[in-house]
């Protein structure tokens, strides 16, 4: 089998003729003696939606944080749209990237955090226009226009003048999603976006993410414990355990016919048996 058909078998997404926008190659990450990621190879195609599942502590967050440049890899390389993220090429040799280089590359990446991380001293609208004005150099008028469109999309336009503290968790997370979208990243990382929410607001956030997944041509990496959401949204599901991708494939296959014992046990804990229910 060629590399391309091999990759195509893993995802329901049509990767025909496309180059991955994200390439992790042999990426490892240790915190002290604790090796959290162990030689990860991982591709993400433009427009592809990949759900990352796995027990807590398996390294899912770390995988995303390396791409968002919040954590430095101990080994390996990450490419974004054909350019090295953590390295610069100087005279044909790879040297560690500096802040300026990271700034240039990470504009393609956006991230939604488990705990929202809205700026508490700014109104909802201000949260959404601060970076577009300062980083993208948009005029205030353009930024407000863009921000309002996104806030409308996540159903938070009426709250534009409120402050984060007056919103529910679900509302704050929807604003955080809008804030990330206004920057128009090519790749969006969602790190357990509903884990910190009250059960009754989980649905509204998942629906917003589903909508975005349907409309956009943005690549998405969705770290989640919501299995039915993963099945509905993802083109591919990656099962993580002990710092490695243990198994991956299209959701129909992965949830219905898990190959490894680990994944079967993991799915059982979500009351999902071999039939994907």
């Amino acid at each position: 089998m060629t590399e391309a058909t091999e990759a195509q078998d893993l995802t329901a997404f049509d990767i025909d003729g496309k180059e991955p926008i994200i390439k992790y190659r042999n990426v490892s990450k240790s915190f002290g003696d604790n090796e959290v990621l162990k030689g990860i190879d991982f591709d993400l195609y433009p427009g592809e939606r990949v759900a990352i599942i796995g027990p807590s502590g398996s390294g899912k967050t770390t995988l995303a944080r390396l791409l968002m440049t919040l954590e430095t890899p101990s080994e390996g390389t990450i490419e974004v749209d054909g350019r090295h993220l953590w390295h610069k090429e100087v005279n044909g040799k790879l040297v560690p990237a500096d802040e300026k280089h990271l700034h240039k590359i990470r504009g393609d990446i956006g991230m939604v955090f488990q705990h929202f991380n809205l700026f508490p001293h700014m109104s909802i609208l201000r949260n959404c226009i601060e970076a577009p004005i300062k980083v993208l150099g948009l005029s205030k008028k353009e930024a407000v226009e863009r921000a309002k469109k996104m806030l409308d999309k996540v159903g938070m336009l009426e709250k534009a003048d409120d402050y984060p503290a007056s919103l529910s968790g679900g509302q704050q997370q929807r604003v955080a999603i809008a804030r990330a979208l206004v920057m128009r990243p090519k790749v969006m990382l969602f790190d357990e976006p509903t884990s910190a929410l009250d059960p009754e607001t989980v649905g509204e956030v998942l629906n917003v993410i589903k909508d975005i997944a349907k409309q956009g041509d943005m690549s998405m990496m969705l770290i989640t414990h919501e299995m039915s959401f993963a099945r509905d949204v993802a083109d591919r599901v990656c099962f993580f355990d002990e710092g490695r991708i243990q198994e991956q494939g299209p959701p129909s296959k992965l949830f219905a016919h898990p190959e490894t014992e680990r994944l079967r046990d993991f799915l059982k804990s979500f009351h999902m048996n071999g039939n994907g229910e």
């Binding site: 700034h103 956006g110 991230m111 955090f113 705990h115 508490p120 601060e130 970076a131 300062k134």
Partner: protein, 218 residues
Amino acid sequence: MIPIDVVSQVLPLLQEGFIVTIQLVIIAGILSFVMSFVGGLARLSRFAPLRWVSGFLIEFFRGTSLLVQLFWFYYALPLLGVTLPTGLVGIVALTLNYGSYGSEIVRSSILAVPKGQAEAGIALNMTRFQRMKSIILPQAFRIMLPSFGNLMIELLKGTALVSLITIQDMTFYITQARNTIGHDTLLFSMLLVAYFIIGYVITLVFRWLERKFSAGRV
């Protein structure tokens, strides 16, 4: 009964000193504030030598007595060939002392802003400077305001020491006046009330600032 004639004799003197004390508080207060930010940011710098030097200076001026510092600048420095105007000596010593305390306030307040805030800034591709200016410092400022209120009260109380190097503040005038007028109880009571009034105004100003900077908090 309070001897009205004594009060009316002392009040003009107290008023003269009052103006000097206020000037010391305002000038040394503003300079301490500026030094707090310079010192606090220097201690958090990515440039190690800057961290060491600022750390040493801050610990030095925080860890030695204000009174001894005043005497050193007033009596010892001229022997080394540098004579500063007396008023300046007071301002310099107060600023170094309270600015050092303030540096620690700024440093710890910046560190108290949750890490997720800077990370959200990185995820929005803001530069280090933009993150500091629009995300970290505004939140740190709100955290540091109450401590700065306390610091300004401490500074006010510290200004009384400058009378010992002949700066004519409130304490200076009152200690002079008791030599000629007596009535110690009355004079020192008036002095206490005068300090209390300034201190209370400082408290009110900082309460107002805290309200003003707490937008969005519930």
